[in-house]
């Protein structure tokens, strides 16, 4: 379904200009004492939320910025940051 995203530099643009960068999983885990399971969790595992999630995007065909945004995966609409996570 069609999608419009707001790039921090270029503003509202067509979703096909962007590359999806995955669910926001927080910072990269520290390497000291990292287990294969913890690394796998960071690299591969997803929550697959049907609803609002925080995610990474890159404005591939534009300014090239990486940014996070909130999107409702059941509507494909960009949404404001939910109250609970402020």
């Amino acid at each position: 379904m069609a999608l419009t995203l707001t790039c921090p530099v270029c503003g509202k643009r067509n979703g096909y200009e962007f590359r999806y960068g995955g669910e926001d999983k927080g910072p990269r885990p520290v390497e000291a004492g990292l287990t294969p399971a913890a690394w796998c969790d960071y690299v591969h595992m997803n929550k697959c939320t049907a609803g609002v999630q925080k995610e990474w995007w890159c404005h591939r065909d534009g300014c090239g910025s990486w940014f996070t945004t909130w999107r409702d995966t059941t509507q494909n609409l960009e949404v404001a940051k939910p109250e609970a996570s402020k």
Partner: protein, 407 residues
């Protein structure tokens, strides 16, 4: 007339407070597993819990293509068995599944693609699956409508021809399996939503539904594209899955012109002619996870352009219906079938991407064996979830299918 007030799978039944096994998701994998549990393993006290109606999801949205020319030694035998089961199930279920083994033709548009096809063909032939490499002229003989000229975007170098594949009527499989399962005593509860899975001391104890609580020692989640979100939401188990909408469409009905399933990786497009004469076509996936099952103008344009390039006789033909479904993609394009790992009695069958339809018959058989005995059949062992943390991803694709920055 032909109207029957009672569906093939019996009248609506009361939701009992306890079952030997509960299957979440009334799609093809759930129905097939229930059918084999009841028929082969005597486990007849089984409930299928379906939020909407059977065949609502991927079961009724796929484009009905079946084939067994996958890439790896683990996948090919599974899909071969699935392919061999269609005629058997047609008889067993006493229901015409309309298996039309018209053969699949995978077009190759470069010498590199021909080389990759040689390897895939060698794997297929090693496992006793018929598959040949043919050149562009031979492809043209099989499908006269094909444009093999040099002046198209991706000129055709040759093709991988896989005669035993083809088309199965997907609705018939849903109804046939539901009929078969119900006949052996399985309860199919439609419009019943699973809301929680209960555990105690590392064991499954029950399922909470919108119609009340069910006590059970075994749960299978086979909810197609909804599985990963549901498993995380209910049990906190994260899966290496990205759920994407995949789009498909059919044209207006035409006179017979395509008697094979023809697909092209470079054009990102496949087409086959249904028994009604429509050209069923698809392949595009949204580039970001979503649960919308909506189509895009972007894709309709892409499909029209691709088809008019390699099947030029379709220029000017109108699309009649468009739709979308969910594909739960894993990084190695292979499914996850696992059980008794996180919780005793918890089984999952997901991550099928767009291969769920072609595999359902064989998977039902083996998942039933798994659930009845508690031991993983050899056929399913390579598909465990732990392969990701053990860095034993399958080589079904040359590189990871990842909807992440690597993509």
């Amino acid at each position: 007339m032909f109207w029957k007030s009672k569906p093939l799978w019996g009248n609506k039944t009361r939701l009992k407070s306890s079952y030997d096994a509960v299957i979440i998701g009334g799609g093809l994998h759930g129905l097939a597993t229930a059918y084999y549990l009841a028929k082969e393993h005597g486990l007849t006290d089984v409930a299928i819990i379906e939020k909407r109606f059977i065949g609502f999801g991927g079961a009724g949205r796929n484009t009905a293509i079946v084939r067994a020319n996958q890439r790896t030694q683990y996948n090919v035998p599974l899909y071969k068995e699935a392919l061999d089961l269609w005629p058997v199930l047609t008889k067993e279920l006493d229901y015409n599944l309309m298996f039309n083994n018209c053969g699949n033709l995978n077009l190759m548009h470069s010498e590199a693609a021909m080389k990759a096809a040689r390897m895939t063909i060698a794997t297929a032939q090693f496992h006793g699956v018929e598959s040949h490499l043919i050149d562009a002229k031979q492809a043209k003989e099989l499908v006269p409508a094909l444009n093999i000229s040099e002046d198209i975007t991706f000129p055709i170098h040759g093709a991988m021809f896989h005669p035993p594949g083809g088309i199965v009527r997907h609705d018939a499989v849903v109804w046939g399996l539901a009929k078969g399962a119900a006949k052996h005593g399985v309860d199919i509860h439609q419009h019943t939503e699973a809301t929680a899975i209960h555990t105690e001391g590392g064991k499954i104890t029950g399922v909470e539904t919108s119609r009340g609580r069910i006590h059970t020692p075994r749960v299978l989640v086979s909810a197609g594209g909804y599985s990963a979100g549901l498993i995380y939401h209910m049990l906190g188990i994260k899966l290496p899955i990205a759920v994407l909408t995949i789009q498909a469409m059919v044209t207006q009905p035409l006179k017979p012109l395509l008697d094979h399933v023809v697909s092209s990786g470079a054009y990102h497009c496949y087409a086959n002619q249904t028994l009604k004469g429509e050209i069923a076509t698809g392949a595009h996936m949204d580039q970001w996870p979503n649960y919308t099952t909506q189509n895009t103008a972007h894709y309709i344009k892409h499909q029209a352009e691709a088809l008019s390039d390699w099947l030029p006789c379709l220029r000017g033909v109108k699309f009649m219906r468009i739709w979308g479904g969910l594909a739960d993609m894993t990084p190695d394009m292979a499914p996850i079938m696992d059980g008794n790992d996180h919780y005793e009695g918890f089984y999952m069958d997901c991550g099928w991407g767009y291969f769920g339809f072609k595999s359902c018959s064989a998977v039902g058989k083996y998942m039933a064996q798994y659930m009845a005995s508690g031991h993983c059949p050899d056929m399913l062992k390579p598909f465990n979830l732990r392969r990701y943390e053990n860095h034993q991803l399958m080589g079904e694709t040359a590189e990871l299918v990842s909807y992440t920055p690597n993509n």
